[in-house]
Symmetry: C2
Subunit: 454 residues, 2 copies
C-alpha cells in the first residue's frame, strides 16, 4: 500500500547485522518479543493496535530491484549481499495480542519466531507500526472513558507527523471507540466513517456571515453543521436561528453548529439556549479547538450541552506522552533463552505468555507473565498464534470486531485504572516464579559478574 | 512518491467546502498564509523545513480514477462533483521562506495565492508536511547548538509516528545540521548519509560477547563500531582492547565503541581510559540511549570524551513539544483583506512580508511583519517567490545548500536565543503600523461589534 514501507525503511544496523549473520552462518531460530518497558505519564494501561499493518508488512516483505540496486551501489556491503537479499522474505511465526486488548508494561504484545536474519531484520518497522497505533489507541481510549456517550471524531491530520500517521491515527482512534475521523483517506482506504463541517475561511470568504451559512446549508440540505465562532459565537447562533426559519419554508433543516474557540462551557450553554428558544432544540452542538481528554472530562462533569467533540493534535501526537518505551528484544536463540542486562534495560528471557485473571464481577484482577511452555495455565492466555510460516492464520479482523473487543476490554478495566491520572495502586503484573528462575539461570551462564534479578 | 499523498489525504471539510465553492461560483483569488501562532515551551525560534515536499505535493496534485470512484460512491456529494474534481490541479503562486530559515511566531513561512477552491483544498496536507519537518528541524537545531562539533545522528525511525515521519525526520534533522541518519531509505531516496552499528541482539545471539565482537569486526574491517553495554560496559571495553591486539596482526582496525545505557559521563571516561591504555586512542566513542539536547549539553559541559551521539525518540517526536501551533489562514479574497477574530485566534489580514533587520555584527536584530505591497522596504524580505502558476520557479534546492543556510542562520541567532530554555527577552517581532491600520479597517467592515486589535 505504501512504497515507503520498502524493506529499506529500516535502520542501517539491521542490514549490517543481516550481512554479518549471513557471513557467519547464524540462521538458527530466534525469538523476539515486542513490549513496552514502562507506562508513560498519566497512563494506567495501554491498548494494543497496529497488528494488522504489522502482518501486512511481514507478508509483503520483499526487496525490489530498485532497493537491491541501491544496496549494491552503496559500497556499504560486498556485491554478493544484494544477491542474498533478493531471496529474503519472512517465513516465521507470529503470536500476538489481538488489537484492542488492554495490556501492561513488560507484557509481550507480539512475538516473532523465525530464522535469526529475518527475525532481526523486521525490528525497526514492526516497532514503528505497533508503537504508533498503540500510542494513539491508548490516548483515544482515554477520551472514550472521559466522555461516555459523546460522539468523538479524529480531527488530527494536519498536525499528525506525516501522511501515514494521519491515516493510522484515524484507524487507531476508531478502534478505541471514536465514531470516525475527518481524514478522507481513512474512509476511502479503510471504510472508517468520515465527518466534516466547514472552515473559518468559508465564512471569511463571504462578505456576510449569514450569507456563508445560507450557502452552506443550501449545499448540504439537512446535513449542514455551521461553524459559528469566526467573529462572535452568540451573534452567529442568532443568525443560525434566523436562517433556520427562513429555510424551513423551503424544507431545509440545519443539522447543528460547531464551536471552535473561547470558553466552550459558557458558549455551549448560551448557544443551546439561543437554539432552543429559536425552535432548534434538535440542532446538535459540536465542539472542537485544542481539546483533549482532560477538557472533555471537565466539560462532561459540568454538564456542558455538547453532543460531540472533534479532537485533533492532542490525539494524533499523543501530546502529553508522545512515545512509548516500546522495544523488540531477543529472548531466545538456537533453543537457548537470552536476555540483555544493560543498566535499567534488563529483560525477561525466553518465550513468554501473559495470563489474565478476572475477579468475580468479570473485571481484570491481575496478570501473570510466565514461561510459555509451562504446563501450568494460570488464567486466560492473551497471546494467540496469528501467523504461521509467513502466512496469516486468519483473514484480517474487521474493524467492527476490534471495536467490539476494545469496548469490552474497557468495560472490564478496574475503575481506578479508568481515570486520567496515574492510579495510586498500579495494575498487578506478576512474574511467574519459573520465569524468575529462568532469568537467574541465564545470568549464571552468560555472566562473568553476578547480576541480581530485578 | 507516496500514494498516501493522494488528494484524499485531506479533511472532509476541504471537499465539502470545495463543492460549496463550485456550487456558488466562488472562484476568485484567495490568499492563504501558513504560520505558527506561538512558540512551544522552551523554544526561542523555529527553523522552516518541508517546503520541498510541499511544492512536490502542489505540483503533483491530481485525483486518480480510484479517488474519483470513491468520491462518486461516497454518497456525500452529487455525481457531478466527481467530474469537477477530475480537472482540479494547482494553478497558483507560492511565496515562502527558504528551508533552513529561522523564523518566529505570526510570521508567514508560506503563502498561497490561487483560485479559492485550490487554495482552500491544499490546506490539510500543506500544514501536515510543513508542520512536521519544521517541528523536527527546530528540535534538531537545538541539539546542534547544544553539542557543537559533535557528530549527531538520527536514530529515531522505530518510534517515529509512521513511515513518512521516519523519512522526513531524517531529512529535517540533516538539514538542521545532523551528520546523517540510521534510516536507510533516507539514504536511498534522498542521498542523506547513513550510519549504523550493531544491536544487543547480535551480542546476545552469541554465547560469548568477545566472539560477537570478533565476528562483527571481521565482517566490517576498519569500520566496526562495537556496542559494549549488553552486559557490563567496562568489561566489554577490556574485551575490545584484547580483540584489537589480536586483529592488529591481521591488519584489522576497530573504529570505535557505542555506549547505550547507564551513566554516559562516567562510562565514557572509564572506557576512554581503558581504550587509551590499551593502545586504542584513535577508537571513537559514540553514545546513544534516550538522549536529548539537554543531556547533550550536560555531557559536553562536563567534557565527556564522546565523539558522537545517536538521538532517536526525543528528536523525531519532538518529545518535549510534539506539535507547533501551525495554521493556514485566509488573509485575502477577491481583492479584499480578511481576518478571523475568534477568541485567542485572531489573525493579521492581507498579503504580508517579513523583513529582517541585522545589527552591526550581522546578527538578527528584529523582524517586522508588514503589508507586502507597502513600498517601504524595511530590511531583508524573507518570503521569496518559489512557484508561479503551479510550476516551481527553480529546481529543488540541494540538501547541501539548505544545510549551509541553516548553519548560517544559527550563526546569526542572538546568543541568548540559542539556549535551550525560554529566553527572558523574546526576539522582537514588530507589526508594521500600516498592518495594524489594515486590521482595524477590516474589522470596521465585517464587524457588528467593536473588536480591539491585539
Amino acid at each position: 500500500m505504501n512504497p515507503l514501507a520498502s524493506p529499506l525503511l529500516t535502520d542501517l544496523y539491521q542490514l549490517t547485522m543481516l550481512h554479518a549473520y549471513y557471513t557467519h552462518g547464524m540462521r538458527d531460530t530466534a525469538v523476539f518479543e515486542l513490549f513496552v518497558r514502562k507506562l508513560p505519564p498519566n497512563r494506567n494501561f495501554m491498548m494494543a493496535a497496529g497488528l494488522e499493518q504489522a502482518l501486512d508488512f511481514l507478508e509483503d516483505l520483499r526487496f525490489t530491484a530498485e532497493d537491491l540496486e541501491w544496496v549494491g551501489k552503496s559500497r556499504l556491503f560486498p556485491r554478493e549481499f544484494a544477491r542474498q537479499l533478493e531471496g529474503l522474505h519472512f517465513t516465521g511465526d507470529v503470536h500476538a495480542m489481538p488489537e484492542g486488548t488492554i495490556f501492561f508494561p513488560d507484557e509481550p504484545v507480539l512475538r516473532v519466531t523465525a530464522p535469526m536474519p529475518e527475525a532481526q531484520f523486521v525490528e525497526s518497522r514492526l516497532i514503528n507500526l505497533v508503537h504508533f497505533e498503540t500510542l494513539v489507541a491508548t490516548k483515544a481510549a482515554r477520551s472514550v472513558l472521559a466522555a461516555p456517550g459523546k460522539r468523538l471524531v479524529d480531527f488530527g491530520l494536519r498536525r499528525a507527523h506525516g501522511a501515514e500517521a494521519g491515516l493510522l491515527a484515524a484507524r487507531a482512534s476508531y478502534l478505541a471507540g471514536f465514531a470516525g475521523t475527518a481524514t478522507v483517506i481513512a474512509g476511502a482506504r479503510m471504510g472508517i466513517p468520515v465527518f466534516g463541517t466547514m472552515a473559518h475561511s468559508f465564512v471569511e470568504a463571504h462578505d456576510d456571515e449569514a450569507a456563508a451559512f445560507e450557502h452552506f446549508a443550501q449545499t448540504y440540505p439537512g446535513r449542514a453543521v455551521l461553524l459559528i465562532d469566526t467573529y462572535d459565537t452568540e451573534l452567529a447562533a442568532l443568525k443560525v436561528v434566523a436562517l433556520a426559519s427562513k429555510l424551513k419554508s423551503r424544507g431545509i433543516r440545519i443539522q447543528g453548529v460547531r464551536l471552535d474557540s473561547g470558553n466552550h462551557l459558557v458558549l455551549a450553554r448560551n448557544v443551546r439556549r439561543i437554539l432552543n428558544e429559536g425552535g432548534l432544540a434538535d440542532a446538535s452542538i459540536f465542539a472542537s479547538g485544542n481539546l483533549d481528554e482532560y477538557q472533555l472530562r471537565a466539560l462532561c462533569a459540568a454538564g456542558a450541552p455538547i453532543d460531540g467533540f472533534g479532537i485533533g493534535t492532542s490525539l494524533v501526537t499523543s501530546s502529553d506522552a508522545p512515545f512509548l518505551d516500546a522495544v523488540y528484544k531477543l529472548q531466545e536463540y538456537a533453543g537457548k533463552p537470552r536476555r540483555k542486562r544493560s543498566t535499567g534495560k534488563a529483560t525477561w528471557p525466553g518465550r513468554k505468555q501473559v495470563f489474565r485473571q478476572y475477579d468475580s464481577a468479570g473485571c481484570f484482577h491481575h496478570d501473570i507473565i510466565a514461561v510459555e511452555d509451562d504446563n501450568e495455565k494460570t488464567g486466560e492466555p492473551l497471546l494467540i498464534p496469528v501467523m504461521k510460516r509467513g502466512r496469516r492464520l486468519h483473514g484480517p479482523e474487521t474493524l467492527a470486531a476490534i471495536r467490539g473487543r476494545a469496548a469490552a476490554q474497557l468495560a472490564k478495566l478496574p475503575r481506578h485504572l479508568a481515570l486520567l491520572e496515574t492510579a495510586t495502586v498500579a495494575y498487578p503484573v506478576e512474574i511467574h516464579p519459573a520465569l524468575r528462575k529462568l532469568a537467574n539461570q541465564v545470568d549464571r551462564v552468560t555472566s562473568e559478574v553476578p547480576v541480581l534479578c530485578r
